[in-house]
Symmetry: D2
Subunit: 136 residues, 4 copies
């Protein structure tokens, strides 16, 4: 499994009045880590793939996350990301978030490759072979 690391420094404004990271920010970073994974594997921007493959992004179908330790501002977090499983029209993207040796959170996502649907909205397309090849 190819692994890419996306690094984040937690900012003051990422934390809530309890002084810990406000959790939706973890999903913001996870989404950036997801994208970073494709970038480092050599997949072009979605603006590009929209033209060539009709693919406009990789929206979430399902997510499952476990929050183990809280984090606060000044912390440096590493998002270790890879694709744990390929299915017909979806894939499982997996994240382990660490601060030094400590595990902060874990997340498994099911995502699809999406195209615009006639009349609005989006639809899943089969995993593009050229993208899968770059990411394995």
């Amino acid at each position: 499994m190819k692994e890419v690391i996306y690094r984040v420094r937690v900012e003051f404004g990422d934390c809530d009045p309890a002084r810990i990271v406000w959790f939706p920010n973890f999903f913001r970073w996870i989404d950036a880590a997801s994208r970073q994974f494709f970038v480092e594997c050599g997949v072009p921007s979605w603006t590009e793939t929209e033209k060539t493959l009709g693919v406009i992004g990789t929206p979430l179908v399902d997510t499952q996350a476990r929050f183990i330790q809280s984090a606060t501002y000044g912390d440096l977090l590493s998002f270790h990301v890879g694709i744990a499983e390929w299915r017909g029209k979806s894939f499982v993207q997996r994240y382990r978030v660490t601060r030094g040796d400590e595990l902060i959170m874990e997340c498994d996502e099911v995502r699809i490759f999406a195209a615009h649907r006639e009349g609005g909205g989006i639809r899943a397309v089969p995993i593009p072979a050229e993208i899968r090849r770059l990411c394995e």
Copy 2:
């Protein structure tokens, strides 16, 4: 199970270049819906409960979400929220998000009641009986 409805109108800036809600925003709204639930049940602000019970908030331990339909700006979403299960030091908060009759997403969260821990960070406290009474 007590149920509270938290309503959201999706804004332009909540959507990404694929023109659908950028998913971390769903967790932003879910967190607001979680809080709204406690407010409508009569639980005081965490600033208040910090003084009386030491409770500074209800951080997430675990979350599981299913995204069924995409949403876009202008949509009116209803977050139906309740507490599906009470455990010793945690509880399961459940969300069903609808747009009219359509189911948009579902989410189950495990949360704790947190207090500051000596030396920084947070710790789980047993479910405060007076809060549970208000929420059942």
Copy 3:
């Protein structure tokens, strides 16, 4: 000057470790208030105007804001919004944010009506007469 009021309840996650609204959130609400103004004036969604007028939104050119009082979670804020001035290719959108009788912040923005530019990016278009008529 037509005035529209956009209402916001400040959420826990909108506040930072100093327990006050983290200021970028004010701009998030201002952007929503800007859009709300057009909606209540009867201007269709930007998805619609893209088809009819090429207009994809009203990006900011310039903003000037004064923060007078801090706000915290639980507060109810009213964003009073109108268009203070029409220019050739831009307009000034004005905001007064109140909590009850108290003035919380003020903001003046210069915005344009934008269209896609050949080769990427955006460009300003002259104020569409039909939109101006609806907003005066």
Copy 4:
């Protein structure tokens, strides 16, 4: 004037349906750049300064921003930040945001050093001499 550079890679989710950075995100980065400035000048975390000086952060009083070019995902932005002016109880923090040679936006902020006020809210304190010395 001491200058610090804060670097940002624009993410997919930072952009709106017009495919350009949704402007409140610029203020999010500006706030992080503001903090980064103090960190690189050797000012301790606000958690630390709260104990030693009562200072809990540097909230905004006034902001003025000019948006010159739009940015989109994949762009690398540099936030050049310094303190342009010291006043009695406030200071002007200045930002120039570039993408390579291009100027993307400019911003001047008036900020204060804030402490908790008895009974809630915050108040400005005189510029702490030890902080000013580190930042000049």
